[in-house]
């Protein structure tokens, strides 16, 4: 067991890429640092730029608001730049309609196929809705099978 764990750890260390999880999504450590630096520079840079050019073209009391807007502009540009520079590290699987058996699903949800179908039979509103979705048949079949 011990050796296996060591081997696993070594594999993790030598594998090409390490990810860290921030706010529920994975990122590459060096990229997140760069992204933060780019964004801070762009937004505060925009603010400074505004502070230096707006006094010549705008009313004095609006300078600070306009500079803030330019700062936001900077952070949006940073968002676009960072999205171009750093591709998302996510794996997106586009699934087809689930092919799981209904029995298995019901079992996981601790429901019984027969009583499920009984409930649906006696409830015209739900029955109609499920019929339109095309899932009534599956429920009917599994309900009858378990009888």
């Amino acid at each position: 067991m011990k050796t296996e764990a060591v081997v696993k750890e070594a594999q993790v260390n030598t594998s090409k890429q390490e990810y860290i999880e921030i706010l529920g999504d994975t990122v590459v450590p060096s990229r997140i640092l760069l992204a933060v630096i780019i964004s801070v520079i762009a937004s505060i840079g925009g603010y400074f730029l505004g502070k230096s050019i707006f006094p010549q073209i705008a009313e004095a009391k609006m300078v600070s608001s306009y500079s803030l807007l330019l700062g936001i502009g900077g952070s949006v540009i940073a968002l676009i730049i960072c999205s171009k520079l750093f591709k998302p590290s996510r794996i997106l699987m586009e699934e087809e309609t689930s092919s799981e058996g209904l029995e298995e699903i019901l079992q996981d949800l601790q429901a019984d196929a027969k009583s499920e179908y009984e409930l649906i039979k006696n409830d015209p509103v739900t029955k109609k809705e499920m019929e339109e979705l095309g899932i009534l048949e599956t429920f009917k079949r599994s309900g009858e099978r378990s009888q």
Partner: protein, 451 residues
């Protein structure tokens, strides 16, 4: 330009921005809504427009966060966590699009019930406002103890109240000696971005990073989507059955009154109640989802409006989190003394400008989520990296802190983010507790130390 037009424009901006942000799964409401609302306030928007913006932002974000919840089984944000079980049951039955539609329709109904209920109830509670205002320091302190006990950290959160208040006052005194004004936006931003900032810090620490290291990128499973109606704007009352509409309306109404409880807690509770009254996997899941998403909307809206309208001091979890800038954003809004939307808007204006926000969000976010859920999710997942998003929010926080107090502001924000974020992540002292301690810190330290 009239105030009405400005409000409509800001509501439009709020709806557009947050319709897109809602697509990003797992985003923390406080970290995202606080900086944008502060920006709108500091840009000099009239109070009516600030309120419309906030309402549009909250509803849009909640409507679109139903998309990752239903189609990927990943909670759109913390309030969506209780919905995951029912959403994945429907996903496994092969009808994730039904989960999405029921959630969206429930959310819409919940929002429009919460607004008038909250305005009326807030007006009723307003008669006790003088008492609340005169005792605000004590109330903040007691509330801090109460919500600390109910936070993840439990007793450690209670234990941390006095040291954290001492810490806040100390850096407040020091920054005061440099910039000669008391800062608060910088404190706020620090608490708000704390969790994501501490994640970055942990990832940089060679001793602590192991807890966050993953050997592979996160996998997302996107379910197919089937369009089952004609036209662009499906009628929410037709998407839900009569019984579901009734259950959603009733739970949304009740949860509009319980403004002091946590939105996630109310959502779970109401979901349980509705779930127990509907039998059969399909019916139970669809009914619960509609009601629960209605409750997340109604608690959010009511928890922002009621304390704002009645007291002007932040006395609910939402008022301490995402809605906090509406109470306190010096120099424009302050909560001690009360000089914020509480004094600036009449109950009728709360209703009117709130309605503007909700209607605009419904026109934009609802049909968008109904029609383009899958396309939009694929775009965001493939093109917008988490790096860029986290970077943008930390950039915005630094910008706002710099706007308040230059380099001192940035240092204060990053210091707060470090201490607050680690307390939050490691000890479970949640941001709500930290906000409450911030509000109560002056009272506590004055009483304890006479300083």
């Amino acid at each position: 330009m009239s105030v009405l037009m400005i409000s409509i424009l800001f509501a439009l901006a709020g709806a557009l921005i947050f319709t897109l942000i809602g697509l990003v799964s797992g985003t923390d409401e406080t970290a995202i809504i606080v900086p944008f609302t502060l920006l709108v306030i500091l840009l000099g928007a009239p109070p009516e427009a600030v309120f419309s913006f906030f309402m549009a932002a909250v509803l849009s974000k909640h409507l679109t966060h139903a998309i990752p919840t239903a189609l990927m089984g990943v909670p759109g944000d913390t309030t969506a966590v209780p919905l995951i079980d029912h959403a994945s049951a429907l996903r496994r039955l092969g009808v994730p699009h039904v989960a999405l539609r029921k959630m969206l329709s429930g959310g819409l109904i919940g929002a429009f019930i919460a607004l008038p209920t909250a305005v009326l109830f807030g007006q009723f509670l307003g008669q006790f406002a003088d008492f609340f205002k005169s005792a605000s320091g004590l109330i903040f302190t007691l509330a801090a103890i109460l919500i600390a006990y109910f936070s993840k950290g439990k007793w450690v959160s209670v234990l941390m109240i006095v040291p954290f208040a001492f810490f806040i006052k100390s850096i407040d005194m020091f920054s005061f000696s440099v910039v000669e004004k008391h800062l608060s936006i910088s404190f706020f931003l620090g608490i708000a971005i704390g969790p994501m900032f501490s994640d970055i810090l942990v990832s940089l620490s060679s001793s602590a990073r192991k807890s966050l290291v993953r050997s592979a990128p996160k996998e997302y499973h996107l379910a197919p989507e089937v369009k089952g109606w004609k036209g662009f704007f499906p009628n929410p009352f037709k998407v839900l059955t009569g019984r579901q509409t009734a259950h959603t309306a009733a739970t949304s109404f009740v949860s509009s009154l319980t403004f002091a409880f946590s939105p996630v807690g109310m959502t779970s509770l109401m979901g349980e109640i509705v779930g127990s009254r509907n039998k059969g996997v399909y019916k139970k899941s669809t009914s619960s989802l509609a009601a629960m998403n209605g409750v997340t909307e109604s608690t959010y809206i009511a928890e922002a409006i009621i304390p704002l309208l009645a007291f002007g001091i932040p006395l609910s979890p939402v008022a301490l989190g995402p809605a906090s800038p509406l109470f306190n954003a010096p120099p424009v809004f302050t909560s001690d003394p009360v000089n914020n939307l509480h004094n600036m808007l009449t109950p009728w204006e709360f209703f009117l400008y709130g309605l503007i926000g909700l209607v605009i969000a419904s026109i934009i976010a609802y049909p968008f989520a109904m029609n383009y859920a899958r396309t939009a999710t694929v775009f965001v997942m493939k093109h917008i990296s988490q790096e860029a998003i986290v970077g943008m929010f930390i950039g915005l926080a630094c910008l706002l802190a710099f706007h308040e107090a230059g380099l001192v502001g940035i240092m204060l924000t990053l210091t707060m983010a470090t201490v607050g974020g680690l307390l939050n992540r490691v000890l479970g002292v949640s941001s709500g507790v930290q906000f409450m301690i911030f509000y109560g810190s002056t009272y506590m330290i004055t009483k304890l130390l006479g300083a």
